[in-house]
């Protein structure tokens, strides 16, 4: 049962809400309250656009418990347009081969069933390809 944890993270998971540093304008995700760029306090919320590109990726065939039903699935390091990198699954790939540099955008999807057998379904961010010309 990790309900409290999901509740704590819901803003990040549903909305890709991070922080912006009031001192140096550095954008921060995941939020960490201290700016990694200038070391000052940075708690101001910032809504990321959800636009980015694939920095690296791979496909997982042997998934952790709770994710088996999704396997195989592709995970990526996505470089957001505003600067930070985020780890996320790619989705809606169809037949399209994934490539480094491919433009992607954030969507909300089902992540997994919670392991407590109570059938809690968790939602969170994934990224899908952006068609050429649509950005």
């Amino acid at each position: 049962m990790e309900i409290a944890r999901h509740w704590r993270l819901k803003q990040q998971r549903y909305g890709l809400v991070g922080e912006v540093c009031p001192h140096c304008d550095h954008k921060i995700f995941p939020p960490r309250d201290v700016c990694p760029n200038c070391g000052d306090e940075a708690k101001e919320p910032f809504n990321f656009s959800g636009q980015g590109e694939v920095f690296s990726f791979t496909t997982i065939y042997e998934a952790p418990a709770g994710f088996e039903a999704n396997a195989p699935y592709t995970v990526a390091l996505v470089k957001l347009d505003e600067g930070p990198m985020v780890t996320a699954q790619l989705t809606d790939l169809g037949e399209q081969p994934v490539e480094i540099g491919m433009p992607v955008e954030m969507v909300t999807r089902k992540m997994r069933n919670d392991g407590d057998e109570r059938g809690v379904i968790l939602y969170g961010y994934k990224f899908r390809p952006v068609l050429a010309g649509l950005r």
Binding site: L9, S56, T59, A63, P64, N70, V75, M85, Q89
Partner: protein, 385 residues
């Protein structure tokens, strides 16, 4: 000058110990190390372990093993730093003995992986990454390494086959190690045809998960009365980086390794060129490559060439994984760092038989937790006689 010495080593074979429990494996390695050290009276036991709370539902492990190893009463604590746990236990033992508050300490590494497999093991391993922003996405430790390798191949324009050298060297050296899981050399062709696990990682780019236990005994030179030639700890350092890859400015630079290695070289007063053998952490071939680069043994983007050109063989410029490393000996989690120490001591004692590195005087051992999130390095040196 007062030195920190390793006076005894012990190990059980790395492999699947279906019939042996965590505590039995640990206690056995402790007893072997104490015997090897001439049965001193240890005052402290530091246990490196990654996952026993998850895999075996067993915490409070150091006290359990002290109890089971007939050392009831001594100081005992478990040290965890992901895959660097074994090296971190050595680090704690070094700090303890150096402080003067402990005269003789044991660093034990022990791990029982094979009681879990498949998705359950992946879940256990995923506790080592950021639970909120990595594990939550269904990420696995293998896929972290695969993403690093994917980027490496692209950024440095290396061929997929570039990583064969790490596996070939490991298996060749494993053949001379009776404690290794795999004791047979493999061919380049076998590597190239191996099953893909998480592209571009194939099964030879990944070390197998094994059970294992290894221990070393440490003391100060002024207290050592034995006649055997001990090995001294010339440097001991531990550094960290961000836990997650996505928080790094440059993911292909293992900064924890660079920081940690620099500290170690400074302490020992040595340059990379003076190291005679390097026990790197090859849980994945790409970790070995990035570690070679960050430690300063080659330029960035060049490590795969070192491996391909056999510079890392026992007779090469910088022998690596001289007993097979994680790839052939087997990856035993928190035990890995101590296996490395045991192997380096055998080399420095001149007891490495078929795998002996000629003239081995300085050995560097290095453990990595997560994708370079934690790094621990020790330099072990032959005592001048």
């Amino acid at each position: 000058m007062e030195e920190i010495l390793i006076t005894g080593v012990g190990q059980i074979p790395a492999g699947e110990h279906w019939d042996s429990s965590l505590r039995e494996m640990g206690a056995k390695a402790v007893r072997l190390a104490l015997q090897n050290a001439g049965n001193p009276e240890p005052q402290a036991l530091f246990v490196g372990n990654m996952l026993s709370m998850n895999i075996s539902n067993q915490a409070h492990l150091a006290t359990l093993i002290a109890d089971r190893a007939d050392l009831v009463g001594i100081e005992a604590a478990t040290v965890e730093a992901g895959g660097a746990s074994g090296g971190a236990a050595i680090r704690q033992a070094v700090l303890a003995v150096k402080s003067g508050l402990v005269d003789c300490a044991i660093a034990l590494g022990v791990e029982k992986f094979t009681d879990k497999a498949g998705g359950e093991l992946e879940s256990a391993l995923a506790t080592n990454m950021d639970g909120d922003f990595e594990a939550m996405q269904g990420l696995t430790t293998t896929s972290q390494a695969a993403m690093l390798m994917q980027r490496y191949l692209m950024q440095y324009k290396a061929e997929r086959s570039a990583f064969a050298g790490f596996a070939l060297n490991a298996h060749k050296n494993g053949a001379g190690n009776p404690n290794a899981m795999f004791q047979k050399a493999i061919k380049a062709d076998t590597y190239l045809k191996a099953e893909m696990v998480s592209e571009p990682l194939n099964m030879f780019d990944i070390a197998p998960f094994v059970d294992g236990a290894a221990a070393i005994v440490l003391t100060r030179s002024s207290l050592y009365k034995g006649s055997a030639q001990p090995v001294k700890v010339s440097a001991s350092a531990l550094s960290t980086d961000t836990l997650s890859l996505h928080d790094r400015v440059d993911v292909l630079e293992f900064r924890s390794v660079a920081r940690c290695a620099q500290k170690a070289f400074d302490q020992a007063g040595l340059r990379p060129g003076q190291i005679n053998l390097f026990e790197y952490d090859d849980q994945f071939g790409i970790f070995a490559a990035l570690a070679l680069e960050a430690t300063g043994f080659c330029e960035r983007g060049q490590a795969w060439k070192m491996a391909l050109e056999d510079e890392i063989g026992v007779g090469g410029r910088l022998p690596c994984a001289t007993f097979g490393g994680n790839k052939a000996r087997g990856f035993a989690g928190g035990a890995t760092g101590i296996y490395q120490a045991v192997e380096a001591v055998l080399q420095l004692r001149g007891d490495a038989k078929a795998n002996q590195v000629p003239g081995a005087t300085h050995a560097m051992i290095q453990g990595i937790g997560g994708p370079g999130s934690t790094c621990v390095s020790h330099i072990l040196s032959k005592m001048e006689s």
